[in-house]
Amino acid sequence: MVLLEATAIGKRFGGVIAVDDVSASVHEHSIHAVIGPNGAGKTTFFNTLSGFYFPDGGTVHFDGREITRMPNWQRVAAGMGRTFQTPSIFPELTVHENLQLGIWSQAGQAFRLRGGTRAQTQAVEARIDELLGFVNLASSRSRLVAELSHGSQRLCEIAMSLSTSPKIVLLDEPMAGLAEAETERIVGVIRDLRERLGLTVLFVEHNMRVVLSLADRITVMDRGRLLAEGTPNEISANEAVRDAYLGREVVDHV
């Protein structure tokens, strides 16, 4: 079943066409990657799906509803979580406080002007433990996020995106700027998102090796257009994709 479907998305900035007539279908319980060389428009495409921008043309459907122009915060309520290329967190708050917000939000408690009851607090704490356990950050619970390593910040952000109990998680270049060991941690967590939590994952990624090993389906973009879509095997065999990646890095990595 298709969970997230983009149809003929177009987006321009001033005179520049960033995304031109791109479509993609993300199936439930799949790990779907969007790749493309620099300037391919993949992040812009990604942002129109997550509601960071609204597309100029085309439609986005999610979980059976049209969400093309739905405000980003409503998409979260509808079951969409996302992360950013540079970890988007609250640097001056602790890991614990970072996670509270999403839980409050999902529980409809964020608007409270007073602290919660004991039962409410306990429920929140239990949920935080659960999330931290999942991303393996329990030991950093009370540290300021600004003090964490880059990889841990990213894990914290993934935990935050999970705190609202999404159906799909959108990850924007989750490995960007990470060392080898940290990349492995994230790869493990992304696998777990599907295996253990049963979620759907859509991610934009540069690192071809990671994409080929992780994704079920791959959408390839180039210069704002859709170049190819298929399984990892189909994509690595595709001539056009090889041409787009001038350095033949696909071949080298396979």
Partner: protein, 332 residues
């Protein structure tokens, strides 16, 4: 007793005893009332700018609305003290309701510009609507009685001060509760990263709107009390220069702190009073204070003290094993 409550009791107690010391330092009790009312106005800025990160450069509009709300209700409806304060406070709230939808549309610099520009509308209305507001000449009125059924009593400067103090401490209490509530935490999170807050499923517009309404109501309350302190309402209270003073007071004391506005207001109001008595060039000193504060004390007095304490705490913690790994350079 929590440390925060202890601090509150100590400061509250000192403020309650302040009138005893004033004659020694050559100050009139009414100027300390003014300090409290300016602190209240600066707290209204603090909620938006210090906590939520929105450049609230137009809060004088709400302050002035409160001022005129009180003055007009006394002049035309002959209401008593408490009613006048309530009308002024409501006027601030209404101002927030009117401007909110416009201000909400933008953030950052643009929000600041909108706040200044829309605030000026009220200035011009007060200035122009001579037949009702007295225009440039302002409105004079006698301070009304505090009226309860069967009981009337008037407030002299000393009793007025204690009323102002009670209101100020009430607002401090409100802030202390709200600051640690999910709502308050969300505002702080909005300041740090609004996009992320939205991607946690929170309609930040709604939070900002409510923060704006609380802010405008508090400013209106401060303005109403200010009009009753000087028994006068005039257009300059609505002007953006007045907003600038409130922002300075907040920054001077320490943005995002509970007691910062009080510290800032004390320095600003009393400092200005003393310097303007000494030299006609006080405006140069005031301008220099703005510049020095921005360049030298960006965190304000309380913020700098807290940062100093934190730094010591961090130095102490540095010996603990640090799991931090060096940040790799981004690839994009």
């Amino acid at each position: 007793m929590t440390p925060a409550l202890r601090t509150a009791l100590v400061i509250g107690g000192l403020l309650a005893l302040a009138p005893l010391v004033l004659p020694i330092v050559h100050l009139d009790v009414s100027i300390v009332s003014e300090v409290l009312l300016f602190a209240i106005a600066a707290m209204s800025v603090n909620l938006l700018l210090g906590y939520t990160g929105l450049p609230a450069f137009g809060n004088a509009a709400f302050f002035g609305l409160g001022s005129y709300g009180a003055a007009l209700s006394i002049k035309y409806a002959h209401v008593h003290f408490i009613e006048a304060v309530l009308v002024g406070t409501l006027a601030g709230l209404v101002g927030g309701l009117i401007l909110g939808p416009f201000l909400l549309r933008r953030r950052g610099i643009y929000f600041g510009l909108l706040a200044i520009a829309f605030g000026q509308v009220f200035y011009f209305i007060a200035y122009r609507f001579t037949s009702v507001t007295g225009g440039e000449d302002g409105m004079n009125f006698a301070r009304p009685y505090v009226g309860f059924p069967n009981v009337h009593f008037s407030l002299n400067e000393m009793s007025f001060y204690y009323v102002a103090l009670a209101i100020y401490l009430g607002i401090v209490a409100l802030f202390s509760v709200v600051a640690v509530s999910p709502f308050g935490r969300t505002l702080v999170a909005i300041r740090q990263n609004e996009v992320r807050v939205r991607y946690l499923g929170i309609n930040t517009d709604r939070f900002i709107f409510v923060a704006l309404l609380i802010s405008s109501t508090i400013a209106g309350l401060g303005g109403a009390m200010f009009a009753l302190l000087i028994n006068f309402a005039y257009p300059l209270t609505l002007d953006w220069h007045q907003s600038g003073d409130f922002v300075l007071i907040m920054i001077l004391g320490g943005a995002g702190t509970i007691w910062g506005p009080l510290v800032g207001a004390t320095i600003f109001v009393i400092g200005k009073d003393i310097i303007s008595t000494i030299t006609p060039l006080w405006q140069i000193f005031l301008g220099a204070l703005f510049i020095a504060c921005v360049l030298g004390f960006p965190k304000g007095i309380l913020g700098s003290i807290a940062a100093f304490r934190d730094r010591r705490a961090l130095v102490g913690a540095a010996s603990a094993p640090d799991a931090q790994t060096p940040l790799p350079r981004g690839t994009s």
